[in-house]
């Protein structure tokens, strides 16, 4: 029920900038969150609204929600209704890459204009504190012995958590198409399944499990970043345990197709200014997000790489045929 209420709830909010005289202050932006209020993309859009106006980069920012189908409904709207509109941005991220393939979306990210990558969150694989699985090697041995007997709990099918479970199996040399991945609606239910000891391992963003990890109810098997997390120096990475696995749940902004090079530069400059502001830094700290800023051109290259990687995994696990 929760997600079905969430996914359709839509909000339009207007925030007016305070008294500001900065150079960009004439800029009026619209940011679309292709999801319902309360989720990660919505949170990113509203945080951008806050940072853009508070730092004086934009005069006004309006946030709207177009929920549905992993963001592909919002994506379709951006590509058609907003074509050539130089004042609209859409928040998106890693999850949308998979959703496009899964939902056979007629519009893809290649049709949008990449503006910037903003944040990234490492994923974490955990087991209940009383589990016999001690580290990544233990888990790898079990997956190799019989992938079907290792049950994974995480978010929606085809999302970042699912892709990580498949990548793990593939990386350690097991058959990724045989993994027993159980999607739960929202991190909450998956967390309950973990704490109840119902499943072998759980996957989520580090933040979602942080409280339980610190309380000693869950044990970290590995984090998916290249180096240990600053806020969790005790949690080992997969890489240091010899499993060559790196997945980041990144979030970014794109603009509609058909905008001019000049419009692209204006948007890119504005977002860069925001991403380097102290207001944005404060938000990142409060929310526990990592700064992963990449400018327009670098982000475009990065995005292409991720699209190839995700499609390969989704074919392997049979999500896309």
């Amino acid at each position: 029920m929760l997600t079905s209420i969430l996914k359709r709830t839509a909000v339009t909010a207007v925030a007016l900038a305070g008294l500001t005289t900065a150079a960009f202050a004439q800029l009026e932006l619209k940011i679309m969150a292709p999801a319902a209020p309360g989720g990660g993309w919505d949170g990113t859009a509203r945080s951008m609204q806050q940072a853009l106006t508070a730092s004086g980069v934009a005069k006004s920012v309006q946030v709207s929600n177009v929920p549905g189908a992993g963001g592909t409904i919002g994506l379709a709207q951006l590509a058609t209704s907003n074509k050539g509109d130089g004042s609209t941005l859409m928040v998106n991220g890693f999850v949308m890459v998979g959703a496009i393939l899964l939902n056979k979306s007629p519009v893809t990210l290649a049709q949008t204009t990449p503006i910037a990558r903003l944040t990234a969150e490492a994923l974490v694989v955990v087991v209940p504190a009383n589990s016999p699985v001690k580290d990544a090697k233990d888990l790898a041995d079990r997956v190799k012995a019989d992938p079907a007997k290792v049950t994974w709990a995480g978010g929606s099918a085809g999302g970042a958590d699912h892709i990580l479970a498949a990548l793990f199996a593939g990386t350690v040399g097991a058959d990724a198409s045989k993994i027993n991945y159980i999607p739960f609606s929202g991190g909450g239910e998956a967390l309950a399944a973990m704490l109840g000891g119902r499943v072998t391992a759980g996957v989520s963003g580090y933040g979602e499990f942080e409280g339980q990890i610190k309380a000693g109810k869950l044990r970290v098997i590995g984090v998916t970043s290249s180096a240990r997390l600053a806020n969790a120096p005790d949690a080992p990475t997969f890489k240091e345990q010899g499993v060559n696995l790196e997945v980041l749940n990144w979030r970014s902004v794109v603009a509609p197709p058909g905008i001019t090079a000049e419009q692209r530069k204006t948007l890119g400059d504005a977002i860069e200014k925001m991403a380097k502001s102290k207001e944005w830094a404060e938000i990142l700290k409060a929310r526990g997000w990592d700064d992963a800023y990449l400018g327009s051109a670098d982000f475009e290259t990065f995005l292409k790489g991720e699209e190839v990687r995700v499609e390969k995994v989704m074919r392997e696990v049979g999500l896309v045929k």
Binding site: M1, I5, G38, I182, P183, R198, G211
Partner: protein, 499 residues
């Protein structure tokens, strides 16, 4: 003793004038958005999040909790007066409540809903304060198999909403279950019955179906027979307030409703709907005047209304103790906690006792404020029924349309609303009950997902449903509830034959 001390400390925080003001603003907003169909507490809290960023964390969280409780109070108003449940949790309330309103007993219906909500809110908040740490230990032991068994029990009790013909009731139920199959399958991510329409990938929205079938369908039906056999609506008959008899018939359903709502609300995937259905059918079974059910029995309002408010407090148990959001509003409140760098969970009680206990204490205060705010409003609300029918029903259609568009501004959604409205008209015209269809849409997908998760965990062995004591017990109760009426009937016939 520690809990009492902590709670007393919480009250000293919550009784500060500024906190009281936040609480008042919260309950007022909550009541208002609860009454307007379409705008719910989840949306309101989401809108306020960016505004409250710089405000005092305790104050804003107290306001959010006030909105949450207030929304649960306000939701019953439209369900009772206009037969238009604005959210799925007040569906069961609409069944008897709207019949009472038509018979001139709107006042007592609203009163039993408000006082029932107060009683349930009070008991459930006490439960939250004193039992949360233990309850949550039990709640997380609830596995997918247990949820599946709970859904089956809810399915069995749906028959209480069937009216006279089980066949028609089952037809309606299965239509709802079929609608529940539409959209992306949660477990494999594949689209089902979406016919290439992207809007269908998310499935059929429960509120659209409920508002279409109930409100729009009712309006069309009333309009269709207005010239031939005009229906008499009596705005007020007898007392506006509850009679002695009403009190006598309400208090036990309030307590039973609370007993369903609080523990099920505390389950990570329990929700507010299942306890309202269980309460409705229990009251129907226990009622001394079963012939009144379907015609406006006060027990059918008192029980479900208490159940849905108690479940709201139940939802806060996993939210505060584990950081598990189990409703849309709770999910956004979690975002609210996080914007202040607070992580609800086992450590929050130890790290920020003032904030947590202040919040819990403010829930008691919000509850008192709500009942004081709502009781005098009853006289005003009931006057709505005095509005001439064409105006009233035209207004309902306007509000239903606005509400649907506010939630999802999409022409496809609007088409669904009126398609379901026409279907609701046809079902009334040919005497099919509409409630089982909505219940089917709510329970069908939940039962399916939980069963498949259970089987995935057991590697395909169905015995898992009977091996676990929780699910085995619940399935046993469902079985007894299903066959008992037939057995009793047979026994009676046997006795009659012997005589």
């Amino acid at each position: 003793m520690d809990t009492l001390l902590a709670l007393a400390n919480g009250f000293s925080v919550a009784l500060e004038p500024t906190k009281l003001l936040f609480c008042l603003v919260g309950v007022f907003l909550g009541t208002a958005v609860g009454v307007l169909p379409g705008i719910g507490p989840a949306l309101t809290v989401a809108l306020l999040l960016p505004v409250t960023f710089k405000m005092d964390p305790a104050g804003s969280l107290i306001m959010f909790a006030g909105i949450y409780y207030g929304g649960m109070y306000g939701g019953s108003t439209t369900a009772i007066l206009l037969n238009a449940p604005g959210e799925s949790a007040s569906l069961a309330t609409a069944l008897e409540g709207s019949k009472m309103a038509k018979a001139g007993r709107g006042g007592p219906a609203l009163a039993t809903a408000a006082i029932g909500s107060f009683v349930a809110g009070l008991i459930a908040t006490i439960g939250l304060a004193f039992l949360a740490p233990w309850l949550v230990e039990i709640a997380i032991q609830f596995g997918p198999w247990d949820y599946f068994a709970l859904m089956i029990l809810a399915f069995v009790t749906v028959s209480a909403t069937f009216g006279d013909s089980p066949l028609r009731g089952l037809t309606s139920l299965f239509l709802g279950i079929m609608l529940g199959l539409v959209g992306i399958d949660k477990l494999t991510g594949q689209a089902r019955m979406s016919f290439g329409v992207p809007e269908l990938l998310n499935g059929i929205e429960v509120t659209t179906l409920a508002v279409g079938l109930f409100a729009v369908g009712e309006a069309l039906f009333v309009a269709s027979k207005r010239l031939r056999e005009p229906e008499e609506i009596i705005p007020i008959k007898g007392s506006l307030w509850m009679t002695k008899q009403d009190w006598k018939r309400s208090w036990a359903p309030w307590l039973r409703g609370t007993a369903f709502g609080f523990p099920i609300g505390a389950l990570p995937a329990g929700g507010a709907e299942v306890p309202t259905f269980l309460s409705y059918s229990t009251e129907k079974k226990l009622c001394k005047f079963p012939e009144e059910f379907g015609k406006g029995a006060i027990e059918g309002v008192a029980g479900p209304e208490a159940a849905n408010n108690a479940s709201a407090a139940g939802t806060l148990v996993p939210l505060l103790t584990l950081g598990l959001p189990t409703s849309a509003t709770a999910a956004i409140m979690l975002a609210g906690f996080q914007q202040y760098g607070l992580n609800p969970g086992p450590l929050l009680f130890a790290e920020k006792p003032d904030l947590v206990w202040g919040l819990i204490a403010s829930l008691f205060i919000a509850n008192v404020m709500l009942v004081i705010l709502n009781l005098p409003l009853i006289g005003l609300w009931v006057r709505l029924l005095g509005v001439p029918q064409p105006w009233l029903y035209a207004g309902i259609i306007v509000f239903a349309t606005m509400g649907t568009l506010a939630v999802n501004p999409s022409p496809v959604e609007l088409g669904f609303l009126f398609g379901f409205g026409y279907l609701g008209y046809l079902m009334r015209r040919y005497d099919y009950p509409v409630a089982p269809m909505v219940v089917g849409l709510i329970l069908g997908p939940m039962a399916e997902a939980q069963l498949r998760r259970a089987l995935q965990i057991s590697l395909g062995d169905p015995m898992i449903l009977l091996e676990n004591p929780g699910s085995a017990t619940l399935l046993g109760i469902s079985f007894i509830a299903l066959v008992a009426p037939f057995v009793m009937k047979g026994m009676n016939r046997f006795k009659a034959a012997e005589d």
